[in-house]
Every structure is written in structure tokens, then in C-alpha cells.
């Protein structure tokens, strides 16, 4: 990046800087303003049992959703990164669908498949797992909407590892799994970890699918919605600020971990 770009005094650069500044204001001002006007109310928000409970539920469910998408999403990402097969383009495109469809629509879709009166839902009920208005439902909704983040991050991470490394590992006596475990996975780890953090952060903030499928136990975004609709804006400010501060903290952690340039390992 040119260090003297400001000194260039090019009309194009100046216009870009001005428009970019306006964009930054648009992104940051609502957040800064909310935190600034609620500092005196943060204490009461933290002390509220319901708020603490909702935040814990969000964090815990997001952790389980991340675990779920890790177990099922990382293998899919590996296959997509390494292999060609019929229908790959369709599968590849469909991974991003959860991001594209409205999240309350996603909640309805999940309810139609996993609700108590459905074939799959009643099947799971027999082994004690129910999705409607349960923690399992929250995890399912979170996993559905945030899985593209895990899969895409892991896929890019695997693509950045030279396939020749696996060939060499196999020539040295490693099976396909050992080559993956000792060479590919360690080298892709930082990218996969980024995927985990993004999945977790996205899951915490999920509202639309969760409120349809499982509005209880109450998560932080659902709690915020109830407080806003029942008690008004000023009551919701403190929880909002708390959620923003926690989200920003997660964001800083992600940026610190991913600060080192992600270089392809060729």
C-alpha cells in the first residue's frame, strides 16, 4: 500500500476517502452512541438474572452449534477443497443458502422438518431429543444459519495447503487420514479456527430462526426483543450496549488471532 496516498491529492483519492469516511460513520456511530448513552445502566443490565441467563444460553448454545458445524462442516469443506465430482457446483452453491434466505424463513423451514409432529422430529423424540422450544432447537437454528462461515473458512484453509504435501506424506508411509491429521489439518488450523470463531459469533447474534423454532430457553437477542417490545427503547438500551460490547470483544479476539497474513502454504 502506498504510504503517500494522502499526499497524492488526486481528486479520485480524495473523493474515495470522503465517501469511505461517511461509510465508517454509518457503521460506527450507532454502536458508539449506544454504548456512550448506556454506561450508567450497564451495571443493572449485568446484575439482571434474566439478562445473565440469556447471555449464558446464547454463549452455550453457540458453542454447541460451533461444535456441530465443526464435526460435520470441516469434512465437507475438505471434500470440496480437494475433490472434483458430479454435482459439485450445485453443492458448492447451496452451502451459502442459509445466508441468503431470511432467517425467520429458515426457522419455519426447520420447524417443518424437525417439529414435534414431523417424521424426523418424532423420531428424535423417541431418543429424548426435541427441537421445538428447547436448547436443541436453538443449537439447530444457530448451526443452520452460521454453517456457511465454518464451511467456507475451512474450505479456504484446506485449499491454501499444497496438495503435494499430502502426496509426500503418503509416500513416506502415512495413510490418507494420517496425512490429513499430521500435515493438512495443522497447516489449515488457523483458518479453521477463524471459521469456528466466526460461526460462534454469528450464532450468538442469531435471532430470526431461533425465535421461530425455539424462543425458549431465552437467548440474548430474543431477550432484547422482548424487553424492547414490552418495556420500550430505554429499557432495551443497556442490554443492547452489553451485547455490543461483548460482540466487539469477540471481534477484537478474531482480529488478533487472524492478524498474521494468511499465506498459502505452498
Amino acid at each position: 500500500m502506498s504510504e503517500g496516498w494522502l499526499k497524492e491529492k488526486s481528486p479520485f483519492i480524495i473523493a474515495s476517502a470522503f465517501l469511505g469516511f461517511l461509510m465508517l460513520i454509518f457503521l460506527l456511530l450507532p454502536i458508539i452512541n449506544t454504548v456512550a448513552i448506556s454506561t450508567d445502566k450497564l451495571g443493572s443490565a449485568i446484575m439482571s438474572f434474566e439478562t445473565r441467563e440469556a447471555i449464558f444460553t446464547s454463549f452455550y448454545a453457540a458453542f454447541l452449534a460451533t461444535l456441530f458445524t465443526f464435526i460435520f462442516g470441516v469434512p465437507l469443506a475438505y471434500i470440496l477443497a480437494r475433490y472434483k465430482f458430479p454435482g459439485k457446483n450445485i453443492i458448492d452453491a447451496s452451502i451459502d443458502l442459509p445466508i441468503l434466505i431470511p432467517h425467520d424463513a429458515a426457522g419455519i423451514a426447520l420447524l417443518l422438518l424437525f417439529g414435534s409432529n414431523t417424521l424426523i422430529g418424532s423420531g428424535f423424540s423417541k431418543i429424548g431429543i426435541s427441537f421445538f422450544r428447547t436448547l436443541f432447537g436453538i443449537v439447530l437454528a444457530m448451526a443452520f444459519v452460521s454453517s456457511p462461515f465454518m464451511i467456507r473458512s475451512a474450505e479456504e484453509a484446506f485449499k491454501s495447503v499444497n496438495p503435494a504435501m499430502e502426496k509426500v506424506a503418503r509416500s513416506l508411509g502415512a495413510s490418507k487420514f494420517k496425512a490429513f491429521r499430521h500435515v493438512t489439518f495443522p497447516l489449515a488450523f488457523r483458518g479453521i479456527l477463524t471459521g469456528c470463531l466466526l460461526t460462534w459469533a454469528r450464532s450468538i447474534s442469531e435471532f430470526g430462526a431461533v425465535i421461530i423454532l425455539a424462543n425458549v430457553p431465552i437467548t440474548a437477542p430474543v431477550q432484547l426483543y422482548y424487553v424492547f417490545t414490552e418495556q420500550g427503547l430505554s429499557a432495551a438500551v443497556a442490554i443492547t450496549a452489553l451485547l455490543i460490547i461483548m460482540t466487539v470483544a469477540i471481534f477484537i479476539v478474531i482480529k488478533l488471532i487472524t492478524a498474521k497474513p494468511f499465506k498459502p502454504v505452498y
Binding site: 502426496k167 506424506a169 509416500s171 513416506l172 502415512a174 495413510s175 494420517k178
Partner: protein
């Protein structure tokens, strides 16, 4: 350990090999020579087991390994650009194969120490690959492949990423390793000098097929067709007709110029003369060389210690090499009249 490739064919992305047959003897240093896209790497990777052939067989030491995965073939593989594991030190890279084959820790440490000493890498054992020079990376990749005592060693363009001086050093290193370990080696390259110096025998590959197999002497001085001739450095290639053949000495008309060559052939042919087999003189002198042509220098290229001359002989263009010293002593330049002299035995008839 011997290697046999029987009627091997494979189509893979933009590359293909067709009906390849090879027999490589125990302890032989075998080079597969060809230009980019000839299919050399694909052939090597098929022998390694990274791809399944469409048809044909691969036999290593009398065992059909065609359906065996790479980890069961007993091969050592050094890919292009070495591909060291960046998250492991030199010692850990070298140790990797022993770990995968479940050697005990104490034994691994002993073998790694001995291998690093053998390859003169002991002082680098705790370094990460990104801190190594090209030559050091290449030696580490070799050590990693050799430590598991493979039946055959497969080298994919091992010297191509190195500068000329390091290439020379590493060529000597490869020769030393091969001489001491006597390991069957298959080395793939596009570099003729590398092939000529290292190979016990070599195969020339073109468009996925093997076009000639032989010793370096046979391939470089008696190429089977004009493609091979051009590839191994014959620049003076001409179509001609053998107009007379007496006692094995043929007179060949290449468009008004008569060239004498040692051959039993008759009829249409292609002849080739290596630029380094042509002697340049400003005057004729008594000599056993049967071919003496007079021409004019139309171009010259100073290549450092040698000068390449383009000489027009009755509208037929020859390329010859002369030392820089001789070029200067004879005060040659564009337009200088010279004589080209070469032996009949230096003319290769295809």
C-alpha cells in the same frame, strides 16, 4: 529393486500418457527427459501411486503394485520445489516417515542423526524450512525421502528451482548418494545436461509416449527422429536425399550441398550435425574431415566463453560454436568468410 512399467495409459486433466513401457534395472539411475507437458510428472506420479492408471501395470521388484496405495509401495518421493512441511523443523521433516511407520522414538532419533550427518545437514536440524536456501531445502527433501530406505527413489525435477552453481553442486551430491546407496532412481527433468551427466540410461518422452530409450551416448548422438535430435541439441537439421552410398559412406544432397556421412541408409533422410562438432577455419587445411563447406557469417551471439555463429552456406544456414578466444584471435565478425569442417561420423542420419 527393479521397476517395470507395462502398457501404462492414463488421461488426467490436460495431460495424458499412452501405452508407456519401461524396464528399469536394480540400482539404475534412470532419467525421463522431456519438455513441459510431455507427461513426465504424470508418469512419475503413477509409479508413486498418486493416481490409478486407466490401463497397464506397474511392477516393483517383481510385485504388481498397480492397485497399491503410495504408502504401501516402498517409494521415496521428492516433488518439484521439495514441499517440505513448513510447520516442522529439518529434523522433524526427516523424522516424519519413520514416525508414520511406527519406529520407536529412540530408534527414530538415531536414524535421523545418521541421515542428517550423511547429508551434511546436522547444523540445520532445528531450522524451519522457510529459513533454508534452495540447496538446503533440496537436501532436506532428499534426506526425508531416503531415511525410510525406499526401494526406489522418485525425483521430480529436483534441480529446476536452483541457480546454476547450486545445480552443479547438487548434481554431484545426487551422484554421490546414488553411488553410495545404490538405490534405483527415477529422475524426471527437461534439462538435457542434467540427464546426460546423471543417467545410466534415459528415456525421451513426447506427448505422453516414450520415443527413445538408451544410454546418454545413444540418445544424444544417435537420436531416432528429428524431434529428439532438436530436443537434445542438434541445431543443424536438414532434409536430404542419399545420392550415393559406397562402403558405408553416404553422399547426401541437402539442397545443392553434398554432405558425407557414415550410414548404411539409402533414400530420403534427415541429417543432423551438433554445433559443437563443427570446426571453424578461415582457410582450408589438410584434414581427415570429409565435410568442408565455405560460407559467410550472418550472425553471432556472444555466450560468454563460447560464441554461437550463424553461417550461410549457399543459402543453407548452419549453426556452429567456437570459443570466444578463437573468435577474437581470428577477428571474425558479421560478413567474415569461413570454412566449416566436420567429420562424416559427426553427421547423424535419421
Amino acid at each position: 529393486m527393479s521397476v517395470q512399467v507395462e502398457s501404462l495409459s492414463k488421461k488426467w486433466e490436460n495431460f495424458s500418457i499412452r501405452n508407456v513401457n519401461l524396464k528399469i534395472g536394480d540400482g539404475e539411475y534412470f532419467v525421463i527427459l522431456g519438455s513441459t507437458g510431455a507427461g513426465k510428472t504424470l508418469l512419475l506420479e503413477l509409479i508413486a501411486g498418486f493416481h490409478k492408471p486407466d490401463s497397464g501395470r506397474i511392477i516393483i521388484d517383481d510385485t504388481d503394485v498397480t492397485v497399491l496405495p503410495p504408502e504401501k509401495r516402498g517409494i521415496g518421493f521428492v516433488p518439484q520445489e521439495y514441499v517440505l512441511f513448513p510447520h516442522m523443523t529439518v529434523a522433524e521433516n526427516v523424522e516424519f516417515g519413520l514416525k508414520m511407520q511406527n519406529f520407536a522414538k529412540a530408534e527414530r532419533e538415531k536414524i535421523v542423526k545418521e541421515t542428517l550427518e550423511f547429508m551434511n545437514l546436522s547444523s540445520l536440524r532445528n531450522r524451519l524450512p522457510m529459513t533454508l536456501s534452495g540447496g538446503e531445502q533440496q537436501k532436506t527433501a532428499l534426506a526425508r525421502a531416503l531415511v525410510i530406505k525406499p526401494k526406489i527413489l522418485l525425483l521430480d525435477e529436483p534441480l529446476s528451482a536452483l541457480d546454476i552453481n547450486t545445480q552443479k553442486r547438487m548434481r554431484n551430491e545426487l551422484k554421490r548418494i546414488h553411488k553410495e546407496l545404490k538405490i534405483t532412481t527415477i529422475h524426471v527433468t527437461h534439462n538435457q545436461v542434467e540427464a546426460f551427466i546423471l543417467a545410466d540410461r534415459l528415456a525421451v518422452m513426447k506427448n505422453g509416449t516414450i520415443v527413445q530409450v538408451g544410454t546418454p551416448e545413444e540418445v544424444f548422438h544417435k537420436p531416432k527422429d528429428d524431434f529428439i535430435a532438436r530436443f537434445v541439441g542438434f541445431e543443424n537439421l536438414f532434409e536430404g536425399k542419399i545420392v550415393e552410398n559406397r562402403n558405408g559412406i553416404a553422399r547426401i544432397d541437402i539442397g545443392g550441398i553434398i554432405i558425407e556421412a557414415v550410414t548404411e541408409k539409402t533414400g530420403e533422410c534427415i541429417i543432423g550435425v551438433r554445433p559443437d562438432d563443427i570446426i571453424i577455419s578461415k582457410s582450408l587445411f589438410k584434414s581427415s574431415m570429409r565435410n568442408m563447406l565455405k560460407g559467410k557469417i550472418t550472425e553471432f551471439v556472444d555466450m560468454g566463453s563460447l560464441v554461437s555463429l550463424t553461417v550461410n552456406v549457399d543459402n543453407t544456414v548452419f549453426t556452429a560454436l567456437i570459443t570466444r578466444r578463437s573468435f577474437l584471435e581470428m577477428t571474425l565478425t558479421k560478413g567474415s568468410e569461413v570454412f566449416l569442417l566436420f567429420k562424416a561420423s559427426a553427421v547423424h542420419v535419421i
